[in-house]
């Protein structure tokens, strides 16, 4: 068969599949979903950053004051050892998030004025690593950038030379010298996909550690290992995969530490390096040892129809903060590692709050 013949047959098969889709999915139902999509977006646009911050601060202060017994509070009377939680508010139109920080009790929320797909603290809480989405354009692939904790002082990490390689979400090594990021090819250069390490000072000295997987890697607290999520064709449920651990210098092959289908996207090491928290599809918080042992669910009963995403540890390792997905939006919630103490930390009607990251040390709000 010629290429042209194969293309026409593939196209015909595609059109038939679309006809099936039309037949099994009533058109009015699709339009209702469009209306829901449009209303959700309008609602989100009405929620200004100032309103979010003000509402969050007032509600959270009252809520937390009532909800947290004094004996559970850590540094400065806050749960989890103090520090600040970085989190994003997803903007579906821009396909990236606006970023905020808040105290672990939800108070003193601050709009950083940052916009990007991902953001994460440096391990010492001194700076924030972001995807520098605003600089993306023709001939300018995605690169990381570094901001001060107050959202000022952008320093692009653009020393990587390859114009076909996008460098996206990632993590900073504990010594602050290297950044591990997901890399993916532009303009069809999928052969560039993989996990990369770059110099934290300028984004140069690009080293590919693994070929293939495109997901944000995470450093172990001692910096010797990296973990990442990967999926493979046919893994069920949809979008799921497994977690892998490898030496952070790429000196040995990755080792799979969860069964296929048990993990989903984001995860994080505990501060002492003994656990990795992750989401088992769909929406359940799980823990596993870095060697794959002791896999178990965090025994928290989330309300029906809700799920947990993007887990991150408190500096004292006692709490997990996560994006709590609900039908009306997503909020930032906390739960103890033993599954008790579930509470909302940051909430704003209709917002899609995601990807919380708890700074290891206290930083100025």
């Amino acid at each position: 068969m010629t290429l042209d013949g194969r293309g026409r047959r593939a196209g015909q098969g595609f059109r038939h599949a679309i006809d099936d889709l039309t037949a099994t999915e009533p058109d009015r139902g699709s339009f209702e979903r469009f209306e829901a999509f449009r209303h959700r977006k309008r609602r989100n646009q009405r929620i200004g950053a100032g309103i979010v911050a003000g509402t969050v601060a007032v509600v959270a202060i009252v809520f937390v004051a009532q909800a947290i017994p004094r004996g559970e509070r850590g540094a400065a009377g806050l749960p989890g050892g103090g520090g600040r939680i970085l989190y994003g508010d997803w903007d579906a139109q821009a396909q990236r998030a606006d970023w905020y920080t808040a105290s672990p009790d939800g108070s003193s929320s601050r709009d950083l004025g940052l916009s990007g797909t991902c953001a994460i603290w440096f391990p010492d809480g001194s700076r924030i690593l972001v995807t520098n989405d605003a600089a993306v354009g023709p001939g300018s692939p995605l690169r990381p950038g570094i901001f001060e904790p107050d959202g000022t002082g952008l320093r692009p990490l653009d020393a990587a030379g390859d114009p076909h390689l996008n460098l996206g979400c990632g993590d900073v090594s504990p010594d602050g010298r290297r950044i591990a990021v997901e890399g993916f090819g532009a303009d069809g250069h999928s052969e560039l996909d993989g996990i990369y390490s770059v110099r934290a000072s300028d984004g140069g000295d690009v080293v590919r550690l693994v070929r293939g997987p495109v997901s944000p890697p995470r450093y172990s607290p001692d910096g010797t290992r990296l973990s990442f999520f990967d999926t493979t064709e046919g893994t069920s449920p949809t979008g799921s995969g497994a977690l892998f651990v490898m030496p952070s210098d790429g000196s040995a092959d990755p080792v799979r530490i969860t069964p296929w289908g048990y993990a989903f996207d984001d995860h994080e090491w505990s501060p002492d390096g003994s656990w990795i928290a992750f989401q088992r599809p769909y929406g359940q918080l799980y823990l596993v040892r870095p060697d794959g042992s002791d896999l178990h669910r965090v025994p928290v009963e989330l309300p029906a129809g809700t799920g947990a995403l993007n887990p991150s540890w408190s500096p004292d390792g006692a709490w997990i903060v996560f994006s709590h997905q609900r039908s009306e939006g997503a909020v930032i919630s906390l739960v103890r590692v033993d599954g008790t103490g579930l509470r909302d930390v940051v909430n704003a009607p209709g917002a899609q709050l995601q990807s919380p990251d708890w700074a290891a040390q206290s930083t100025s709000p």
Binding site: F14, I18, S323
Partner: protein, 175 residues
């Protein structure tokens, strides 16, 4: 950036809903073919329709509003960065709900479509519209705002690359 809107014509205005209902399956299919993301495709298609909805008075008067929305979704879908983000977000929503059952569009020669997605973005767009929608060169050019000669050149280059990657005979079709 979308430029050079089509010429407005004298005809009764179509409602956005009618337009959406008619075009949605093909547009989400185009998004899927170009993005490879079964779940992100709907978000990409919704974004494209939302862009049309915002300015429907103008876009609805175009001779081919369907071409306009296809151009938007084609551009959204071939951006690796946007595709990645849309897919992540769509999958995130699965965290608290069971997936909506959809026909398995990947059953129609997934290797071919995977190879299409590995092409440079303009070539991928041309091939998807030419084969998936079975559109003539002139229509593809209208949608992507290219001259017919440019469409032919992209199609020629794409076929050569695809034939090599898929290890099938290349029927030599001059650009």
């Amino acid at each position: 950036m979308l430029e050079r809107p089509r010429v407005a014509v004298e005809r009764p205005p179509e409602t956005f809903e009618d337009f959406y209902v008619r075009e949605y399956p093909a547009v989400v299919g185009l998004a899927y073919a170009l993005s490879g993301s079964r779940w992100g495709a709907e978000d990409l298609a919704q974004e494209a329709f939302l862009a049309a909805h915002r300015d429907w008075e103008r876009i609805g008067a175009y001779e081919q509003p369907g071409a306009w929305v296809r151009r938007v979704v084609a551009n959204l879908s071939v951006s690796a960065f946007r595709r990645h983000a849309a897919e992540a977000k769509a999958l995130a929503r699965l965290a608290f709900s069971q997936p909506v059952p959809l026909p398995d569009l990947a059953a129609s020669d997934p290797a071919f479509w995977a190879a299409v997605r590995s092409l440079p973005r303009r070539q991928a767009q041309v091939v998807a519209l030419f084969y998936m929608e079975d559109r003539p060169i002139a229509d593809v050019g209208t949608i992507l705002d290219m001259t017919p000669g440019t469409v032919k050149r992209h199609l020629y280059d794409a076929r050569r690359t695809l034939a090599r990657r898929l290890q099938v005979d290349e029927e030599v079709l001059e650009p």
